[in-house]
Structure formats: C-alpha cells, structure tokens
C-alpha cells in the first residue's frame, strides 16, 4: 500500500514510517503542508496520514484543498491539539478518521488498514459472511453453521463492525467510536464486557473460534487459519 505521511515531527515521522514499512507498506514522508498537498495531488496514494499542525499549510486546509481538487484519497488526521472539536472539524474538512497524539503504533496501523480497504464507492451490502458465520443486515439476523443466534442490537452492531473488518485488527477505541459512539476513554471494561458476551454467543457453542483478542490492541474476526 502506498501511504503518504505528512508530519513535521521528524522523530514521530521516522517511527511511524519505519513501522509502516515493516508491515510491508510503502511510506513517503513530507514535513511541509504545501509540499504535502502538491505530492498528494500529483501522485496516487492509498491513504494520507496528515498532522493537523504543519508548517506551510495546516492539515485542515490541506485536506480541504485536496477535496476541492476532487481527490478522494482516504485521510487519517493526527492531532496533538486534544480538542473536543478536533474530530468534528477534521471530518467536516473532508477527513475520514482521526487519531489523537500520543497514540500506539498498533492503533495507527489498524486505522490505516481500515481506511485503505474501504471500498472506493460504499457498495451496499445486505449480508456479511466470515467462515460459517453469516449476518443478514436486512433482517438483522445472525447465523452460525445455519443456527440462528439471538443478538441484542448493540451486539449486532459490534459483530457487523468486526465482520466488515474481517481479518484486520479493530482496536478498542475504534469499537467504542463505531459501536457506541463513545468519543472518550471509559474507565470500566465496556468493550471487553460486550466482546465477551458476543463471544459467548458466536464462538462458545462452536468448535472453532472466529473472534480473536489481539493483546493490548483490540480484536480481530477471521476464519480459522
């Protein structure tokens, strides 16, 4: 995957670039907003990782200009501002996701992966399937090995998010945002509790577990390997 990282902190940029390269991605780093916009418009990238505060041109203006130029490359904002409006501002400017510094590299990787595989035009899927687990989005029904599984509404959403990201790591924070719309860090084990309830329903009665815990990072749903 070709990733353009526009970040002016050399230490952070080097760390992220090295990590992404180790994961098999091609990562270009630019430290200036104007250069970044030029490069993002000229070359074709799969994902842009853009810091909010940049010399030359700030991240928000960069993405606005990019979108105005008709480029739909997915953008992940990095922000050290820590402001509660950063997310909204970022999304309004045309960003697709945001991540607050300091972040764990695994979190960044999970989000970049999720962004990159996002279908260019959101195709309307009515059913999802991972191994023998099926999710009917129209009837709001889950089945495994043909057996119907009763799920609460939030459990259904949780499973849907995990299945849409089949084979990829979905972090705890991503689940909080996408399933519960929680944009803060709860002090109790909200995610763990609900994942364990879901696991009891979709995995426990069956021989092969599909929902796997990725230690200290999050969860991944995939067929047995």
């Amino acid at each position: 995957m070709r990733i353009l990282l526009i970040e002016d902190d050399p230490a952070a940029a080097a760390y992220v670039a090295r990590g992404l390269s180790e994961q098999g991605h091609v990562c270009n780093v630019l430290a200036d907003g104007t250069d970044g916009l030029f490069e993002a418009t000229r070359e074709s990238y799969d994902v842009l990782v853009v810091d909010r505060m940049l010399p030359g041109l700030d991240g928000l203006s960069l993405v606005r200009a990019l979108r105005a130029a008709g480029r739909k490359t997915p953008v992940l904002f990095l922000t050290a501002l820590g402001g509660i409006d950063d997310r909204v501002e970022g999304l309004e400017a045309g960003g697709d996701d945001y991540l607050t510094k300091p972040f764990a590299f695994a979190e960044l990787l999970a989000r970049v992966n999720a962004l990159a595989r996002r279908p260019p035009v959101q195709e309307v899927k009515t059913a999802l399937q991972v191994a023998d687990l099926e999710l009917d989005l129209l009837r709001r029904e889950a089945r495994r090995a043909g057996q119907k599984i009763e799920l609460l509404p939030k459990e259904f959403t949780l499973l849907e998010v995990l299945m849409r990201n089949e084979g990829r790591v979905v972090t705890r924070t991503m689940l909080l945002e996408r399933v519960w719309d929680f944009h803060f860090d709860p002090k109790t084990s909200v995610v763990e509790t609900h994942v364990s309830r879901l696991r009891a329903k979709i995995d426990k009665p069956f021989a092969q577990p599909l929902l796997h815990t990725v230690k200290n990072i999050g969860y991944s749903l995939h067929a047995p390997r």
Partner: protein
C-alpha cells in the same frame, strides 16, 4: 486643567453648547417681547397725543384766541421737560404758542428727531399735525420712553447672557473635572488590568448613569476574563502537580529497564509498566484539557436538540453488562422523551462517568438506578446508587478537579470524573446536585430550558 484641556472634555463642550442654545432662545424671546411691548407703548402714546389734540381742538372750537394761547401755554408749563410738544400756528405760519421749533411737521402722523424740533434731547418725537379752524396745530410726545425700553431690554439681555455664559463655564468646568476624576479612576483601573491585575475593576458610583453602565459592562467582561484566566491557571497548576508524580514514576520504570538491559536482564515488565504509566499520564492530561475546553464554552455553538431520556437509557444499557460482571445492576426507569438543547457527546460522557463512578466505588450487590423526569419543560436526569455514598461535607469538594475521597486514593482514576460532569452541567446551564440516597448517592442533573446557560462571551 488648562483651557485647551477643558475644551477636549465632552461634558464641558456639552454644557457650553446647551447654554449657547439657551442664549439664542433667550435672544429670540427678548426680541419678540420687545417688539410687542414697543408696539403697545407706541399705541398708547398715539392715543395720548390724540387725546391732547382733541382737548385743544375743543378749546379752539370755543373760539377765543387768547384763551387758546393761554391754555396751550399752561400745558407747556405743565410739561417743563418737554415730554409733550405743542405748536400752534396761524394760517400764515406764524407761531402763536409752542415749545418746539417749527419743524415743518407734515399733516398727519410723523416721527421727527428732537434736533430738528430745536430741542437738545437725544430722542425723537411722535407728532400729529392738522389744520383746526384757522390754525394749524401740532401735538407730540417724546419717544424717550420707547428708547428707554430698548435700553432696558438690551441691558437685561446682555447681563443675562453674561451671567449665563459665566455660569456655563463654571458648571461645565466643574462637570468636566468631575467626569475627568471618574475617567482618571477608570483609566487607572484599565491600566492596572493591562499590567496583569485582572482583579482591578472600574469604579461604579451606583447612580446608574452612562459611565456606570459602561463600567458595569467592562467589569462583567473582566469578571469573565478573570474566570477564564483563573481556570487556565488552575489547569496549569493541576497539570504541574498531577503529572509530575506519574512522570517521576515513568522515569523510574525507564531507569529500571535501562539498568536491567545494561546487565543483560529482561526489561519487558518495566517497559510495560512504563507504557501503562504513560497511558495514565495521557488520560489525566486529556481529561484536564477537555474540562478546560468545556469550561471555555465554545462547544455551545454545536448544541442541538437531544433526547436526554433516550440518551441516559442508552448509556445505562451499555453499562448493564459491565455492572453485571461486577455483580451489580443498572436500571433505567422512565418513559417518554425529554428533549433539551445540548451536546450529545458530552452528555453521553457525563452520564457514563456517573454510572462508571458508581460501578467503581460501590460494593457488589449495588443497584444503580437511572431515571429521567420531564416536568413542564424542566428535565431532571438522576443517577442513584445504594452504595456507601459521599459524606455531606465532601459533596461539594468531589466536584473539584483532582479531588478524591481518602478511601479512593488507592483506586485507579484521575479524580476528574465528577469535575467533568460539573463542567458539562455548567455548559448546559444545568444544576448538578449530590444528595444522600440513604443509603447511597444520588446525582441529579436539572435542566431548565428557559434558563440561559452561564454567562460566557460568544466564543470565536
């Protein structure tokens, strides 16, 4: 104060302007009054002349010339100052009697200067001449009274103007000095603020005049500014205090890891501890910043209609399983919607904090009850537990940043959960009350849609 300075004062200029207007009005009024009085007086003079003329005419018609001359001579001697003028001539023009020179007064009414009548007085006469039988008679009265009236009116006006101008200067100067004194005080206060003393305030006399109103508005702005600066200062102090301890721990973990690594030992445990410590630092830091930003009030721009009942029910549902795992239960009672103007994200976090607080600080078996009531536009959201509660004397303190009950010191947590709820409540203009649920704690958020949210400057 120099005169040039005086001129720069609006109050002085105002006083002068008003008094000039008054003088102009006075001048107009005097002019009209003078005109009226003069025409009145002139009419009376003419009447008198007519009267005297008629009397003499009567004598003439009685026929005896000697009597006539005597009568006129008697009249002349009765008016030694020549207030009344008489001249009797025969048809040839010879003067028979009179106290004025033959001025050649034309027949009918005329006004002729005293000099032309051979008199020394600096005035004029109003004369009436006509032929009566074989004589030509002229009777007149002096205009001295009219001239006097003019002198009186002009004099009175002049003096009045002089006094008024003088009074204006004095009063204007006094006013200017007084206003200047208040302005100087206000300037001094503003200068103190500019130098960093945010507690300085402009003086308010309590008279409720325009200066008072401006001072009050400036003071209100300063109050808000001081509160914001104080909040910022508080955050910096909190950060310094609250983050140095964990930073120190972080440093110890890293030093331990470095020491072990240099000895070729496994340092993984220390590094994991260091990571966990850095995550805790980040959490505290983020929570402090978030509270400060909520307090700044900019978030209010994004307010929209929120169904508090649905929101709290949803949050209660999310935590139902979490509580169950901790051998507690969360219940939501309430029916129907309860809509307020607010921020969904922040209200969600506020309710989550309340329920999490109960889960984290209460023993197993605790029942957490959530409810939303809507009464006549007012909306009250309540989160109650039957746990140990908070002592009455500490209920205010737990709303402060970083305050933690002694028994919670050892448990995890930033000590910012309730402070954030308080900040969210303030942002929404809602009242946050902590009461004894006997046993347990009841936290109520009371929204009054009619009440304006706490005063805040319209943020950028």
């Amino acid at each position: 104060m120099r005169p040039a300075d005086l001129w720069r004062h609006s109050s002085f200029r105002l006083a002068l302007g008003v008094s000039l207007c008054v003088l102009a009005t006075l001048m107009l009024a005097s002019g009209v009054g003078y005109g009226l009085m003069r025409s009145q007086l002139a009419a009376r003079q003419d009447a008198r002349v007519t009267e005297v003329f008629a009397a003499i005419q009567q004598t003439i018609l009685q026929g005896d010339e000697t009597d006539l001359i005597e009568a006129i001579t008697a009249r002349i001697s009765a008016s030694p100052d020549r207030a009344t003028a008489y001249l009797l001539r025969d048809q040839a023009g010879k003067v028979l009697a009179g106290n004025i020179a033959q001025g050649g007064a034309p027949p009918g009414w005329s006004t002729i200067s005293a000099a032309r009548l051979g008199l020394a007085a600096d005035t004029s006469y109003r004369l009436f001449s006509a032929a009566v039988g074989p004589y030509r008679l002229t009777v007149g009265v002096t205009n001295a009274d009219l001239d006097g009236l003019q002198d009186i009116v002009l004099g009175a006006f002049g003096w009045a103007a002089l006094v008024a101008l003088w009074a204006t200067l004095v009063v204007g100067a006094l006013l200017a000095v007084q206003v200047q004194r208040r302005m100087t005080a206000a300037e001094a206060a503003a200068a103190r603020v500019a130098q960093g003393d945010l507690l300085a305030r402009l003086p308010v006399t309590g008279r409720g005049d325009d200066l008072d109103r401006i001072s009050r508005a400036v003071n209100a702005a300063l109050d808000r500014l001081a509160a914001l600066v104080e909040a910022l200062r508080q955050v910096s102090a909190d950060i310094a205090h609250e983050l140095r301890t964990p930073l120190n721990r972080l440093r110890i973990h890293i030093e331990e890891a470095a020491a072990k690594a240099s000895l070729g030992q496994e340092a993984e445990a220390d590094l994991a501890a260091a990571l966990a410590q850095s995550a805790a630092i980040d959490q505290t830091f983020a929570a402090l910043l978030r509270i400060a930003q909520i307090e700044a009030g900019a978030r209010r721009e994004r307010f929209a209609a929120v169904d508090v009942a649905a929101l709290l029910a949803g949050v209660a549902e999310v935590y139902g399983d979490v509580a169950e795992d901790a051998s507690m239960s969360v219940r939501y009672d309430g029916a129907g919607a309860a809509v307020v103007l607010g921020d969904t994200d922040l209200l969600t976090q506020g309710f989550a904090n309340l329920i999490e607080n109960a889960i984290r600080h209460c023993p197993t078996g605790t029942v957490i009850k959530c409810a939303v009531r809507a009464e006549g536009g007012d909306v009250t959201a309540v989160v109650c537990d039957n746990g140990p509660g908070i002592p009455a004397d500490q209920r205010d303190k737990v709303l402060r940043r970083l305050y933690r009950l002694e028994k919670s010191r050892t448990t995890e947590g930033t000590g910012l959960g309730l402070a954030l709820v308080k900040a969210v409540a303030d942002l929404h203009g809602a009242t946050l009350t902590l009461t004894d649920a006997a046993p347990g704690l009841c936290v109520a958020l009371h929204f009054r849609p009619g009440a304006a949210p706490s005063a805040a400057p319209p943020a950028s």
